[in-house]
Structures are given as structure tokens and as C-alpha cells.
């Protein structure tokens, strides 16, 4: 099972090899990335069944925790890995002739993502997080759009500050406990539940929250998403933000599962939802609208995660997947339907298919039955209602209000799309690969409708795995450290 280490190793290697190979053969260097990704995808799929319900750990170099580097693998992380690989394949710059350096940046990003998913060690998490950040700086800065450079700079500043805080938080934790292994930390949570521990947690959340598009930390989002090319935006919005969320969730679940913390997450989530939707309502162009909407969706995911226990987790996971699918699809679609709303007037006549897909996506996004979005939103709301805390009940109100605003702006756009005036100043783009992907996304969305029950069961299983710290601790830690638990 240790071959799963290749998930991190192969992309990392290929990232360094690509520039070298490129000097000899450009074609081969271009092929390396996809090949690696396809291989990884296959690896993930093949090893799905062999991973048991308890997950397992890979100890790098034979050093055992808490000293060694540990990768923890369960269905959750495997699923995320598969998604990473698939997503990257989708956004892979097939058509454009870009410098090999960019390929290696992509591969670096891949490696960092895998690492982030798999690491069971705070320091490693930080390292991969930084790696991820660096790769994204590069990718954003490489955009031809001059505005993208400014955005990248903004992103760099914010992200670097965030990383510093993350590091600070980790350092505090290390000072408190002397270890960075999450499983090990999880056995001594009582030491963390103090002023210093909570401060550390706050710093970690703020640091990771930058990438997770958490409210007040997400000021970079609109600039970046609306200036970079759309597949990349799809990647960032769809995937990277989720990875950062996963980081927060890991830390939260293992170390700081307290009602105050959860409530804080809820408040942040509510603000994210409201602010995202409201600003998206004012947006005048597609990408900006989608990016703010993405902020709101992330807020919603935070709200889901703020529900204690498995329920919140599986709803959050479902939301993540749904958002990945829908927002990713929308960004991919936006590759075709770019620009301000005025340019999109009468788009329905130019490409009925694109508009149809667009409407399917937004209906699911809004949570209109029978689309998957509805079931997720329904579960979220019903479960929020079940909480005994009025804060959660208020959150329902905000979610519902946000949905109304969301509908307002999305359907304002739909109105533009169906307006029959002669505008169409932008030349209709040729049938691009991204459009096909968007269609596939939509298809997946529709097909998933038939499998709501199995999918939700899987997610519940996954959630129960993730939510149970004992499994994690027992798998990773040697028994003398795990406090005698079996």
C-alpha cells in the first residue's frame, strides 16, 4: 500500500524533470504531466477498495510518529486525491503552447495538493500549503492579462501574511506540546484548550482561511478569479479552496472540537454567505459574479461544518463536492461566456446548449428540486433547524435570504442571456475543450441525481471515518502514544 506515496512523489519529481526534458524534447515534456496524472488517477481508483474502512498510515523512511513524516490515507483523502488528479487533467493547458515551466508549476501544485490531503503532520501541512501557494503565485503571475499581475501581487501579500500566521500558530502549538503530529496532538487536546491553544487555532484558521476564502480574509478572491484564465479559476475556486478548508477541518476535528469554535465557524460562514451573495448581486460581469458566489458557497460549507458531529461533516462534504462540480462547471462555462453582462445579451441564441447547461448549474446551485443542490440544501437546513442553538436557527434565515439574493442576480443574468437584442460584440469562441468538460460536469450532475441515496451513504461512511479521531489516532500512532486505546 505504500505505493500511494507516489501520489506526492511522482508529481514532485515530474515538476523538476519537465524543464530538463523540455530542453531535449518539448513534446515529451508536455506529455509527462498528463501521463503522471492519469497514472495517479488509475492508482487511486485501483486502491479504493483495498483501503479499509479504517484507513491506514504510511510512515516515510520508517520513522514512526511523532518523529517521522506520516501520510494518512482513508476514503476521504483518496476521494480528494482522485478529484485533484481529475480536476488537474481537466484544467490542463492542452491547447495553449505554454512554457514548460508552467507545466512544472502545475505539477508542483499537484504534488502540494496531494501532500496537503495526505499529510498527518502540522508542519508537513504547512510545507505543502506553502508549496501550493508558491505554485499558484506562479500560475497567476504567468497570466498574460496585466491585471492578473496586480491581482497576483495582492494575492501574494495576503497569502504570505496568512502563511506567516499559520506558521505562528503551528509554532505556538509546538511550544505548548512539543509535537506536531496531529494524531499525537489529538491525544493531548486538554493542553491545547487554553488561551494559547485557542490563539494558535485562531491563527491557523486565519492562515488557512485565506485560501479557503473565509470571510474577511478573502479580499483577494474577486481580483484573482476575474482576471486569470477560467480553467485556472475553476481549479482555484473548485479545488484549492476546498483543500484549505480540509486543512481547517482536520485541525478542527482533531484538536479543537468545541462548541464555541464551531459557532465561530458558523458566524464566519454566515458572513461569508451574506457578503458573497450581496456583492455578487452587484457584480456586472460573469467571472466576478462567479467568484463572489464562490465565496458565498464556501461560507455555506463552513456553516455545514459548524454542525457538530457526522451530520455536519457529511453535509459539508456533499456541499464541497457539489460546489466543486457546479462552480467548476460554471467557471469552465465562463471560459465561453466571458465578459460583462452586456456582452452576453442574447447569448441563448448563439449557444442554446451553453445556456441550458448554465441554467442547470444555477438551478442546482440555488437548490431547486430535484437537482442535487436541493437535497444538500434541504439537509443542511433541516439539520441546522435540529440544533438546539438559536444561532443556528438564525443561520437558516441568512442562508435563505442569501438564496433569494442569489436567485436575483443569477436570473438577472439569465434575463440578459435571453434578451433578443442585437448586441453580441464579442466573437463567439470556437467549441473549446472546456465547454465539453462543462457538458460532462452537467451530465455528472444530472446522473448523480439518480444516485443520491448511494452517494449520500458513501459520504456518511466517509464522514463517520473522518469524524472519529480515535480511528485516526489508532492508525497513526504507535500504541504507547495513543493512550492505551485499542
Amino acid at each position: 500500500m505504500n505505493h500511494l506515496i507516489l501520489l506526492v512523489v511522482l508529481p514532485l519529481l515530474s515538476a523538476f524533470i519537465i524543464p530538463v526534458v523540455a530542453k531535449h524534447s518539448l513534446t515529451i515534456s508536455r506529455l509527462i504531466g498528463p501521463v503522471v496524472l492519469v497514472f495517479i488517477l488509475a492508482l487511486v481508483v485501483l486502491s479504493w477498495n483495498s483501503v479499509g474502512s479504517n484507513g491506514f498510515a504510511i510512515f516515510l523512511g520508517g520513522f514512526l510518529p511523532p518523529v517521522g513524516i506520516v501520510f494518512y490515507i482513508d476514503h476521504f483523502s483518496l476521494m480528494l486525491s482522485g478529484l485533484i488528479a481529475g480536476m488537474l487533467l481537466i484544467v490542463w493547458p492542452w491547447n495553449s503552447y505554454v512554457a514548460p515551466r508552467q507545466y512544472s508549476l502545475y505539477m508542483l501544485l499537484t504534488a502540494a495538493s496531494f501532500g496537503l490531503v495526505l499529510s498527518a503532520d502540522l508542519f508537513n501541512l504547512y510545507v505543502f500549503y506553502e508549496l501550493l501557494a508558491v505554485a499558484t503565485y506562479g500560475l497567476i503571475a504567468r497570466q498574460k492579462n496585466p491585471a492578473a499581475a496586480v491581482a497576483a501581487l495582492r494575492y501574494l501579500f495576503v497569502s504570505a501574511t496568512g502563511s506567516a500566521m499559520l506558521l505562528l500558530g503551528i509554532a505556538i502549538i509546538y511550544t505548548l506540546t512539543g509535537t506536531l503530529n496531529i494524531a499525537h496532538l489529538a491525544t493531548m487536546t486538554d493542553q491545547l484548550h487554553g488561551l494559547a491553544g485557542l490563539s494558535a487555532f485562531a491563527l491557523i484558521v486565519i492562515g488557512a482561511g485565506v485560501k479557503a476564502e473565509m470571510f474577511l480574509l478573502n479580499t483577494w478572491v474577486p481580483e484573482v478569479y476575474s482576471t486569470i484564465e477560467t480553467p485556472l479559476a475553476a481549479l482555484l475556486a473548485g479545488l484549492i479552496s476546498k483543500l484549505a478548508t480540509v486543512l481547517i477541518i482536520r485541525v478542527l476535528l482533531m484538536l479543537f472540537q468545541q462548541s464555541e469554535v464551531l459557532q465561530m465557524l458558523l458566524v464566519v460562514g454566515v458572513f461569508g454567505v451574506i457578503s458573497g451573495e450581496m456583492v455578487a448581486w452587484r457584480a456586472k460581469d460573469m467571472l466576478r459574479m462567479l467568484s463572489f458566489s464562490s465565496i458565498a458557497q464556501l461560507g455555506m460549507i463552513f456553516i455545514a461544518f459548524s454542525i457538530a458531529g457526522e451530520v455536519g461533516l457529511w453535509i459539508g462534504l456533499a456541499m464541497m463536492l457539489h460546489h466543486l462540480l457546479v462552480k467548476g462547471g460554471l467557471f469552465l462555462l465562463a471560459d465561453k461566456m466571458q465578459g460583462s453582462f452586456d456582452n452576453l445579451r442574447g447569448y441563448a441564441k448563439r449557444s442554446a446548449m451553453a445556456v441550458a447547461i448554465f441554467i442547470i448549474f444555477i438551478l442546482s446551485l440555488l437548490g431547486i428540486p430535484p437537482f442535487p443542490g436541493f437535497w444538500i440544501k434541504l439537509m443542511l437546513i433541516l439539520n441546522l433547524a435540529e440544533q438546539n442553538n438559536t444561532l443556528y436557527h438564525y443561520a437558516i434565515g441568512f442562508i435563505l435570504l442569501a438564496t433569494v439574493i442569489e436567485a436575483a442576480y443569477l436570473f438577472k443574468l439569465v434575463r440578459y442571456l435571453f434578451q433578443d437584442e442585437e448586441a453580441a460584440t464579442i466573437v463567439s469562441t470556437p467549441k473549446s475543450l472546456t465547454f465539453w468538460y462543462a457538458q460532462i460536469f452537467a451530465l455528472v450532475l444530472l446522473v448523480s441525481l439518480a444516485f443520491i441515496s448511494p452517494i449520500s451513504n458513501r459520504l456518511k461512511d466517509m464522514a463517520s471515518q473522518v469524524a472519529n479521531p480515535d480511528i485516526y489516532i489508532n492508525t497513526i500512532l504507535p500504541s504507547h502514544l495513543s493512550g492505551g486505546n485499542p
Partner: protein, 632 residues
């Protein structure tokens, strides 16, 4: 497979076949046949309507721990038959020459038929829903199906209205979802029966919230005050027969759900116990007042309209008030009137919309200031409109009178003078406005450009006549409908009305429409005898041979009175049209946009890093504060 399952299979097959067929002729014939078949199926299920049975579908879905199932009660059956018959009329109407013209003008005929059947299907799903979740899903289907119908019109206003509708519909859906959450939170299940349990357990404040949330959800669909703004424009801006269908029944889905949720499961008795401010105002009377205001305000907005479709659509909003008002009286006769008004309104509203569409078909306009004198050119259409407006105004012998009579009677019995006046005010406004409609369209001077207009073809005439026959027959013999009403009342737990073929039996003044109509027709007969047998014959003259103070009339002289038809009234009440609800709508939008501007500025902040640091500092400080506070 029971009858309901068969019915649903037929509906599904109908949907698929109509979606597949592209040929206009085949499509029309097939769709008409399907609707006829649906009517037949409903007739086979009539035991539901007469004996207050329930048929539960064998088909159900288990999902995420919820079980959704579908069933037919007397209430569902009643609304279904209205839906299917209005759809039949609309489909038949559009299937012939109207469809051809629609296609010539660039419309997509197949899509229109598809939208119609989609509406029917979604309504049937809603009507058959057996629990709250299936109700919600059906509810959403209905919303989106009617949205599809609305966007089919190419005009900009239509799109705007449709989008406005979407927003309102989402607001309603969200309110509903919140109410669902309340039910779920207290019982962990979404069965209808849980509503009652959940309601009983709630605190007083929660009860208000609960009822209001449900009510808002349903009221939006029904266009009750203060959510009436979306409906008229949206319905008016729908392609011809589609408007007839939507205007006839679509918004009544709101009433259906009110009946199911609020009347049947929450219970009007419970509402009555919820005092709001004074002993006079409880939740039930609040709803009754909302209903009464809904009869007045939209009716008087209709009076201002000069577009025939909008005028009718606004009346559609206003008539909804009578239905709710009747039901809120919580007695046998009032609720029977309210329920019966659903059918009555559907029949005459569809007929009226179809006549307007017929006029548009021939003249190309529904602007009341650009029409006139069409009675000689389109006499049958005029007849249908006449029957329709008599029904809408609620004059004997048409069916509108029967239901309104019951509502009035109930208001009298219950001693609600102000509500009574409000209802009458609505009726009077309706009379004024429908006279304007028929006068400006069919009476008065015929314009030169309409000299060659002819009667519409039979494919359009037949459904119109059919509907007007329904309007008359159900007015003449309300006893045909009243058994259904009685079963519904039995099903949803209202007092049951005593009826006979001619109408209602009631202590101290019932209603016997056969006698009333008989007397009326006797009067007309005597009048006709006097008119035709006394006095010489009259000479038919040209409309230019007209008294104009000695002025010579010719085709150049416009001698017609249509614009601003009630100047005296408008002089007085014109100032009262302040657009307050529009203003409120704008206030909400501006408030939201102010807040959103704040957020936007936040996102545009020049110093993201500083913000980040600030957040961190604040977070840390607050943690510190908390802990030191807790420590001390």
C-alpha cells in the same frame, strides 16, 4: 396499479409524447387527446370527489430518510379537474389557427405546448403530494414550469416580469423551506400529520412565525397582499392561451396548499386562538383581512389598466381574495363559496383571457385605447366575454354570483361588516373595470383599421364557448359542483354545506339559482316581448349617424370614449395610487444594495494585508478577553 397510478402513467406518457412531437398538427391533435383522456381518467376517479375517498399511489420514493408518496383526495381531485380542463381549453385554443399565427410570428409552438403540459404535470404532482417534502418539490416544479411559460414571450417586459416572478417564487420557496425546517426540528419527519403535532408543541411566538412562514410561501404564489406585485404583469406577458391557463389556475395552487397545510393540518380553530393585538384581531381574522385587502387593492389597480390582459390578470389577483376570505370564515357556506370560487374563477377567467387573445389574434393589440366596436365583427367572442364578465362581476345568473353570494352570506352570518363592505367594494370595482373592458373592446365606435376584422375560427371558438357553457351551467345549477365541495369540506375538516341542485339550503335565506335564473329569464322574456311586440320596427343605422351636437361624423372623426374611462373616480382616488408596495419593494432593494455596497467596499479594500492582520489581532484579542474574563 390503481387508478391514480394509471392516471400518472398517462400524464407521463403525455408529457413525453408532446415533448417529442414537432409537427404542429400532430402535436395539437395528440395533446388534445391526452387532455381528454386525463379528463376521462379523472372522471373515473370521481368516487374521490363524491364520496371523499382517498386514493394513494403505489409509487413512492425513499430518499435521505424521507418517504415521499402521492395520493388523491377530494381536494386534489377538485383542483386537478380544473387544471386539466383549463389546459384542455388552452391547448385546444392554441392548436388551430392561433398556433399557426404564433409560429409565423416566430414563436415556438412545440415549446408552448410542452410548457403547458409541464405546468399541468407539475401541478398534478403538487396536488397529489402526500407529505410536506413532495409538496415542496411539487411546489417548486409548479414555479419553474410557470416560469418557463412566462419566458416564452419575446418582449423585454415579459422577461423582466418573469425574473421578478422568480425572485418572488424563491422568496416563497425559502419561507416554505424554513417552515419545513420548523416542522422537522420538532418532529424529525415531514409528514403532514407532523404539522399539527409540531404546531401544538410550539410557543406562541413560534406559532406566529410558523403560520406566517407557511402563509408567506403560499401567499406569494397566490399573489395575496403584500406579494401581489409580480403576478399580473407576469401572467399578462405570457403567450395567449398560456396566459389563460396560468390566469385560470396556476396561482390557485397557493390556495390548495393553504387549504392543505393551514386549514387542514394547522386548523383554523387553532389560528383563531392566536390573538395578535386585540381580542378582535387574531391570526384568522388577520388572514381574512389580508384576503379582503387583496380583493380591493388589485381590483382597483385593474381599474387603472388599459391593457386588456393586464386588467384581467389584476382581477385574477383580486379574485383570489374572495376565495381566501370565504375559507377564512370557517363555516360551511363561506368556505364552500371560497372553494367554489376557484372553479368559477378558473372557468370565466380562462374564457375571458381567451377572448382577449382572440381579439389580439384578429387585431394585433390588446390595448384598450386602440380597440372598439368589435361586436359586429366578432359577435360570438363578444358573447363569451359578456358571459365571462357577468361571471367575473358576480352577477346572476352566472357562476361567479353563486360563489360570491355564499361568501357574502357567510360574512353576513358571521357579522363582519367591514369585511363585507370590503368584499362589496371589490365587486363594485370589478363591475366598473369589466364594463370598461367590454366597452373599450367590443362596444363604441369601430375603428377604420378594424373594418375588415372577422370572427375567429372555430378551433378557437369552441373552447371559448365550452368554457362559457361551464360558466353558465354551474351558475344555473350549482348543485352539480356542490357535492365535490362538500367532500372537500369533509376531507379537510370544515363544516359541510347542505345543498340541492339549485344551490344552498340555509336557515333564513338560502339560494336557489334555478329559481333566480328562472325569474331573471322570465323578466328578460317579458322585456323582450314588450320590446319586440310593442312599438314599430327600428331601423339599423350606421355608426356615423349619431348625435354629435349637429356635427358631421365621418371616418376621420374619432368619436369614441375610451382613454381614462373613469375620470371622476380617478380624480378622487387617483391620488391614492401611490405605488406603496412598489415603494416598499424598492426600499428593500435599496437597503440590500446599501449593505452590499459596504461589503463590496470591504472586498475592494486597498490594504488586504492590514485587514488580515487586523482580523488576527481582533481574533486574538477577543480570545484573550474571553479567557481573562472567564478566569477572573
Amino acid at each position: 396499479m390503481n387508478l391514480l397510478d394509471q392516471f400518472f402513467v398517462i400524464v407521463a406518457v403525455a408529457l413525453i409524447s408532446i415533448a417529442m412531437l414537432r409537427n404542429i398538427k400532430v402535436n395539437s391533435i395528440v395533446s388534445t387527446l391526452w387532455y381528454v383522456l386525463m379528463v376521462v381518467m379523472l372522471a373515473r376517479m370521481s368516487s374521490v370527489a363524491y364520496n371523499a375517498d382517498t386514493i394513494t399511489s403505489a409509487f413512492s420514493i425513499e430518499l435521505l430518510g424521507f418517504r415521499m408518496y402521492w395520493k388523491f383526495t377530494a381536494l386534489s381531485w377538485f383542483f386537478s379537474i380544473i387544471t386539466v380542463v383549463s389546459a384542455l381549453a388552452s391547448s385546444l385554443f392554441m392548436s388551430g389557427d392561433w398556433g399557426k399565427q404564433y409560429r409565423q410570428q416566430g414563436g415556438n409552438y412545440g415549446l408552448l405546448q410542452l410548457a403547458l403540459i409541464l405546468n399541468v404535470v407539475s401541478m398534478l404532482i403538487l396536488l397529489a403530494s402526500g407529505d410536506l417534502l413532495s409538496l415542496f418539490i411539487g411546489w417548486e416544479f409548479v414555479s419553474w414550469a410557470s416560469f418557463l411559460m412566462m419566458v416564452l414571450m419575446p418582449s423585454k417586459t415579459a422577461k423582466k416580469a418573469a425574473v421578478k416572478y422568480v425572485i418572488y417564487a424563491i422568496v416563497g420557496a425559502m419561507a416554505l423551506l424554513a417552515a419545513l425546517a420548523m416542522v422537522y426540528a420538532s418532529s424529525g419527519s415531514l409528514d403532514f400529520t407532523q404539522i399539527t403535532d409540531a404546531f401544538i408543541q410550539m410557543t406562541d411566538n413560534m406559532k406566529f412565525g410558523f403560520v406566517l412562514l407557511f402563509f408567506i410561501g403560499f401567499a406569494i404564489k397566490m399573489g395575496l397582499l403584500p406579494f401581489h406585485l409580480w403576478q399580473a404583469v407576469a401572467y399578462a406577458e405570457t403567450p395567449g392561451p398560456g396566459a389563460a391557463f396560468l390566469g385560470a389556475i396556476s396561482s390557485r395552487m397557493g390556495l390548495f396548499t393553504i387549504l392543505v397545510v393551514i386549514v387542514q393540518f394547522i386548523g383554523l380553530g387553532n389560528l383563531e386562538e392566536m390573538n395578535i393585538a386585540l381580542p378582535y384581531l387574531n391570526m384568522k381574522s388577520l388572514l381574512a383581512w389580508i384576503a379582503a385587502l387583496t380583493t380591493i387593492i388589485p381590483t382597483y389597480i385593474a381599474l387603472q389598466q388599459h391593457d386588456a390582459k393586464r386588467l384581467l390578470a389584476w382581477h385574477g389577483v383580486g379574485q383570489g381574495g374572495y376565495m381566501l376570505l370565504g375559507i377564512m370564515m370557517y363555516d360551511s357556506i363561506g368556505s364552500a363559496g371560497g372553494l367554489m370560487h376557484v372553479l368559477n374563477h378558473a372557468s370565466y377567467q380562462a374564457a375571458l383571457f381567451l377572448t382577449v387573445v382572440a381579439v389580439v389574434y384578429r387585431t394585433g393589440t390588446s390595448d384598450l385605447n386602440k380597440l372598439g366596436g368589435l361586436v359586429t365583427q366578432m359577435p360570438l367572442t363578444f358573447l363569451v366575454m359578456l358571459i365571462g364578465i357577468i361571471g367575473l362581476a358576480g352577477l346572476p345568473p352566472m357562476n361567479g354570483f353563486v360563489s360570491k353570494w355564499m361568501v357574502y352570506r357567510s360574512l353576513l352570518v358571521n357579522g363582519e361588516p367591514l369585511l363585507f363592505v370590503a368584499a362589496v367594494l371589490g365587486t363594485l370595482g370589478t363591475i366598473l373595470s369589466v364594463y370598461k373592458l367590454i366597452h373599450n373592446t367590443f362596444l363604441g365606435q369601430l375603428r377604420v383599421e378594424h373594418q375588415q376584422v372577422r370572427e375567429v375560427p372555430w378551433s378557437m371558438m369552441v373552447p371559448m364557448l365550452g368554457l362559457s357553457v361551464i360558466v353558465f351551467i354551474t351558475g344555473f345549477m350549482p348543485g352539480l359542483i356542490l357535492p365535490w365541495i362538500a367532500s372537500i369540506q369533509e376531507t379537510i375538516g370544515l363544516p359541510v354545506v347542505t345543498y340541492h341542485l339549485g344551490g344552498i339550503e340555509y336557515a333564513k335565506g338560502g339560494l336557489d339559482m334555478i329559481w333566480v335564473s328562472g325569474i331573471l329569464f322570465y323578466g328578460f322574456g317579458v322585456g323582450a316581448l314588450i320590446f319586440y311586440f310593442l312599438g314599430g320596427k327600428a331601423k339599423r343605422i350606421h355608426q356615423y349617424d349619431n348625435y354629435a351636437g349637429g356635427h358631421f361624423l365621418s371616418s376621420e372623426v374619432k368619436y369614441h370614449y375610451s382613454n381614462n374611462f373613469y375620470p371622476g373616480l380617478m380624480h378622487l382616488i387617483g391620488n391614492w395610487y401611490r405605488g406603496s408596495f412598489k415603494w416598499m419593494e424598492n426600499v428593500i432593494v435599496s437597503a440590500l444594495s446599501f449593505v452590499s455596497k459596504l461589503f463590496e467596499n470591504m472586498y475592494r479594500s486597498r490594504q488586504p494585508v492590514m485587514l488580515l492582520v487586523l482580523v488576527a489581532v481582533v481574533a486574538l484579542f477577543s480570545i484573550y478577553k474571553n479567557y481573562s474574563g472567564a478566569g477572573s
